[in-house]
């Protein structure tokens, strides 16, 4: 038996579910290729680079469960270092390049940092190999081998938290979502940040494990013309992206056709608008829904199944709505716990995770029909008389009353009066004012103003959701 057919003893090590996968995907393989703007690297060189990083970590005494902050831009060096950390069973805290890694090291009590800046950092050299620092930081807390990744929630709707994900959390989602990526051996355009769960777990890892080549867009999908050009140049077959990027594609030449010709991919991270849903209906793309606390995959739709607000059906997990319509999730994807000032806080295994998203069944088939996103429970508020206002439900009523409006946002500036913003391209009429007042029911008397924003002027979060904080500013 040749060495290439033998499985080395190291692959049998307990607690190392990544090793067989990484070995099979990378070692000695001339393909797939990882294609960056200025570098092209075959899997085999990612593998040898990862071995160099592994040796470096071992020489430095970084072992299983040691927390390592990884704050590199998407690059060969980032891939090599990440693979090495997984191989060694480190707890990897994913952070953006340029982050204040010294502060992060303190916050997460990290033993090591991999970044181009910072006091204790292992820095990549010109070829992506490691350059060790004089000394590492001394960690106070015990190693956390049960946590494989620490990922920060986006904080779009509140303060960001560091979520601890186990091997089981991550790999269950990788396996469940691999089929949504498209044909094996295809080419994936990577536009999502790799330090976010969507970009890492739904996009990058399934691509690596399925043998797909990965073309990295340094602009992160913000330049739609460039996305179209990269897809044409490299024959991209799959794209995972947020609605905002997909919407931008609709506005450039060739963008709509591109979305229609992709063989696979996921659009998720924010609600899909009516315009985007119409454009994606019948394509090979799927809607996706999740949150970092669920590693982050919860629901996907069928290929081409797009309607406004539809978020798909649970994928290898359970989902149910509580009495207030808030979605709860249970399954292998639900996070191990959180990192806070006291260290790793483990959550109860097998629990239901409250997502904070208000949903309703997408059709008469109950759970089989999937779910439709209505809004965030966080957007609800109390009035000065103590009355609790479920903003998302009233917004749905307003949208039903004003059909030209694609989105609605309801808020109270001071707890007494109500303001409504409608997003759409028609002019606001007196009839619309009246319709909004009626839709508010018993609260109609508190309506102070109705504003219209053209779709192009509506403030958006990075994922494409309506940015309510900027709307209120």
């Amino acid at each position: 038996m040749t060495a290439s057919h033998a499985e080395p003893p190291a692959l049998q090590a307990p607690g190392a579910p990544w090793r067989p996968r990484l070995y099979k995907a990378l070692r000695g393989k001339a393909a797939p290729l990882m294609i960056f703007e200025d570098r092209i690297i075959p899997a085999a060189s990612v593998w040898t680079g990862a071995r160099v990083w592994t040796s470096c970590l071992r020489d430095l005494g970084v072992g299983a469960g040691d927390r390592v902050v990884l704050a590199l831009e998407p690059s060969p060096a980032m891939l090599m270092a990440f693979v090495a950390c997984l191989w060694e069973g480190a707890t990897v805290a994913m952070a953006p390049a340029g982050a204040d890694v010294d502060a992060l090291a303190e916050q997460l009590d990290a033993r090591a940092v991999i970044a181009r800046n910072g006091r204790w950092s292992i820095t990549p050299d010109h070829d992506g190999g490691p350059q060790a620092p004089d000394q590492l930081r001394a960690a106070v807390h015990a190693p956390t081998p049960e946590a494989r990744l620490l990922m920060r929630t986006s904080g779009t709707t509140g303060t960001g938290r560091w979520v601890a994900l186990s091997d089981q959390n991550v790999l269950s989602v990788v396996d469940a979502h691999s089929s949504a990526l498209g044909p094996r051996g295809g080419t994936v355009l990577s536009v999502l940040p790799w330090h976010h769960a969507f970009g890492l777990v739904i996009d990058l890892l399934p691509a690596l494990f399925s043998g797909a080549s990965v073309v990295r867009d340094d602009a992160g999908g913000r330049d739609a013309d460039r996305v179209v050009e990269l897809c044409a140049r490299w024959g991209v077959t799959s794209l995972a992206t947020v609605p905002l990027t997909a919407e931008r594609l609709l506005d450039v030449r060739g963008g709509g056709r591109l979305l229609g010709t992709l063989l696979g991919g996921v659009v998720g991270g924010a609600p899909v608008t009516a315009r985007l849903a119409a454009a994606l209906r019948g394509t090979n793309l799927r809607v996706g829904y999740g949150l970092t606390e669920a590693a982050p995959g919860v629901c996907v739709g069928n290929r081409g199944e797009f309607t406004p607000g539809f978020i798909g059906r649970p994928l290898r997990c359970e989902a149910r709505a509580d009495g207030e319509g808030v979605l709860h999730v249970r399954g292998e994807n639900v996070c191990l716990g959180y990192w806070n000032e006291n260290g790793l806080e483990l959550a109860e295994a097998g629990r239901w995770l409250r997502t904070g998203d208000i949903v309703e069944p997408a059709g008469p088939g109950g759970a089989d029909a999937g779910w439709r996103f209505l809004g965030r429970a966080d957007d609800s508020f109390k009035l000065d008389n103590g009355r609790f206002v479920e903003a998302s439900r009233l917004e749905q009523a307003i949208l039903a009353a004003v059909p030209w409006a694609g989105e609605a946002a309801l808020r109270t500036p001071e707890g007494r009066t109500l303001e409504v913003v409608l997003v759409g391209d028609d002019n606001l009429s007196r009839a619309d004012h009246a319709a909004v007042r009626v839709a508010l029911g018993g609260l109609g008397g508190r309506l102070k103003s109705v504003r219209r924003l053209p779709a192009t002027a509506a403030p958006r979060t990075g994922k494409g959701a309506l940015d309510r904080r900027r709307l209120a500013a």
């Binding site: 000695g28 797939p32 290729l33 085999a44 060189s45």
Partner: protein, 142 residues
């Protein structure tokens, strides 16, 4: 899919007479039909001459030392499968084969080899001299 697409996109670029990013001096191209080992050894970048199947006909000292493969172990081996198996993909070997078949190959791209058990960034210029029908891989550390 992707290997063919990668190859096609590279080949589409090769229409340019002097590919962007080349590090090979222009005068060398006029000498390729009669390039001696001494000429090749005088270059400060890797020079590999391949037959139409991809077997190494000649390699210069720079490339031999860069890859830590003695010249005697380099020559008469198949470059894409025996010397540098990480090039046995659509982008590299596929482009070579298509270029040989078309008698037209002139393309530069960045690549990452593993030399001395360590990834090394390089620039590659693959060229087929249509007059002498000889094939060349030029390689320089990036």
């Amino acid at each position: 899919m992707s290997t063919a697409m990668l190859r096609n996109q590279i080949m589409n670029r090769s229409a340019a007479p002097a590919p962007a990013g080349t590090f090979v001096p222009g005068e060398l191209f006029g000498m390729l039909g009669n390039l001696s080992r001494n000429d090749a050894d005088s270059c400060d970048f890797g020079v590999i001459k391949l037959d139409d199947t991809g077997k190494v006909v000649m390699v210069n000292r720079y490339q031999s030392e860069l890859g830590c493969v003695p010249v005697a172990n380099f020559e008469n081996k198949h470059y894409f499968t025996q010397i540098a198996p990480c090039t046995n993909n659509g982008l590299f070997f596929g482009t070579f084969r298509k270029g040989v078949a078309a008698n037209s190959l002139n393309i530069c791209f960045p690549y990452t080899f593993t030399f001395k058990l360590k990834p090394t960034s390089v620039r590659i210029h693959m060229y087929r001299d249509p007059a002498s029908k000889t094939n060349w891989v030029f390689c320089q550390r990036a």
